[in-house]
């Protein structure tokens, strides 16, 4: 099961990198969303995919010798999903504000912080 998942993760990464290469903020944003999902799947796969019972103690207390599913990757992914979601929300608003304020979503034209023709510092005194 891990091998098909590895290919799926690879496709996710490829799509997100392709979108990151775009000049338009909105595509980069979509790339960021897909990238975070790629990472979540990667963590899920690296925790090994086994079909076992849920890791919940039965009523009688702990029993030896029962193999349960690994809960840790799910806890990690849950944390990562929350973080990625809040980042995505922030970036979405930031991109919208950038489009409103700067009048473009093309990163090549966003030159307000670093103007295109910068003066050299004075060479004499």
């Amino acid at each position: 099961m891990e091998v098909p998942m590895a290919f799926l993760v690879a496709i996710f990464f490829a799509v997100s990198i392709y979108l990151f290469l775009s000049r338009h903020i909105i595509r980069i944003l979509l790339g960021a969303a897909i990238l975070s999902n790629a990472v979540n799947l990667l963590i899920f796969t690296s925790g090994r995919l086994t079909r076992e019972i849920p890791p919940i103690l039965p009523a009688g207390g702990a029993t030896e010798g029962i193999v349960t599913a690994n809960p840790l990757p799910q806890a990690l992914i849950l944390t990562a999903i929350v973080i990625a979601f809040s980042f995505f929300a922030f970036l979405l608003v930031l991109s919208y504000r950038a489009y409103q304020e700067l009048g473009t979503d093309d990163t090549n034209e966003m030159r307000f912080a670093e103007p295109e023709e910068q003066k050299l510092p004075p060479l004499g005194y």
């Binding site: 207390g61 990163t107 307000f112």
Partner: protein
Amino acid sequence: MASSAKEPVDISVAMVTDPVPLADWLIIAPLILCTIFGAVLLMVRKDTRLQPIIALPGLVALVVIAAALLAHVVSSGPVTMTMGRWLPPFGISFTVDILGALLTLTGAIAALAGGIYGAGDVNNSGRRYGFYPFLFLMMAGVSGAFLTGDIFNLYVWFEVLLIASFGLLILGSERGQIDGATKYAFLNLVATTFFLIATGYLYGIFGTLNMADIALKAQAMEEKAPLVTLLSLYFLAFGMKAAAFPVNFWLPASYHTPRVVVSALFAGLLTKVGVYAFMRVALVLFPAERDMLGWVIAVIAALTMILGAMGALAQTDFRRLLGYLVISGIGIMFAGIALASPGGISAAIFYALHSMIVMTALYLASGLAARASGGFSIAGSGGIYTTHPFLAAVTLILFFAVSGLPPFSGLWPKVILVKASLDVGAWWLAGAVLLSGFLTTIAVGRVWVLSYWRPAPEAAAAGEEANLNPVIDYAPLVMLTAIVVVLGMFPQQILELSQVGTEQLLNPIEYIRSVFPAGGAQ
């Protein structure tokens, strides 16, 4: 055996049963303090007058707690506190050694300076948008990253400080800020995602996230897993956070856009967290793999310091010039990690402390200079030496310190680093350190000559005379400069501390024993 539900379960096999010693609560005290103050300040953010009155005692308390933590760690070695009482590696451990405690203390001092300066620099709208709450939440992230002993937890603290830094970065919502913030936000998001990818692989290889546990298991894992690839991925992630050469371009694009005090805090705190994280991962977790990557790190370090200094030479804007100097300093710290000899690493630790203080002070000084002379452009300003001689004198001290000239704090780490690189025959690395220091001297010397020494150009002199408040404007600058002078004149104590910290990094047996008192995981 399962039927004995009535029998009391022996929890000592899985849980910490001893109560936590009172002194060990110091480990998480900075985080508790920052989070509580952040929350309280967020609730009263409409009351702009109250904000600094609440925040400044909180920042002073943070410095005191961090100093107490350092004293505790110095006297009793690395200390560990495990959350939820689950025995490590299952509970999340916070483990502090001298490196973490030193950086926490220095970060708290830089934050205090920023907090005082912010009382004068951040206007009411900036306060209403939450300058102080964001400052405390960012400090929670920074201290958490320095104190944690769990690598996924380290990732979470990175995200905490990152999202707080977004808030600080766009505090004024000006055009340039939004432009700079867009680049900062996306590139830093990519960097932390690389960190998360690497951590996912690391979990797949080791099945644990506790750093002491990984350090133990990595020794046995050699050759069986692609650990060099893993370390390279971490190097990329942390190099991007720290703004090392090929992935540094987010820093000069954004650091000059926010308020001066925000730039100062970023320059002092954020990039150093990346350096710290790489030190921890490369030296404690994967020392054998680091030896294989040593030459790559050395080349990156040399390029970062030279190109950073050259970038500084080409700038007309004082703050952008300082941004490139931050990058140049990162190269010097990475050079120490590349050598990985006791001298190299203690130089890197010392330089990190020096750089946190000096870069914060320089940004604050640039803000005062801009107010005194009417702008950040070194082409259009001048005459500060005649109008504000005290500011000019303090800035000159900082310029000497950042270039590594005696008698200030930049000198000693560079001396140790040059000697350490000559000891292993890396003359080119020693040459790069000296050349970057020389280029830095030219760059800041030009700022000094043009902005400070030169008589004011007529256009700038027409602007209104700036009144600088002797307390809230000068006090943080003088405080930081005093540290720079004292570190330069009497470096012995910090030098010894960084040497002990280096030993703890290179031979992490005490670090591991503090997490696993019984002598190792089963």
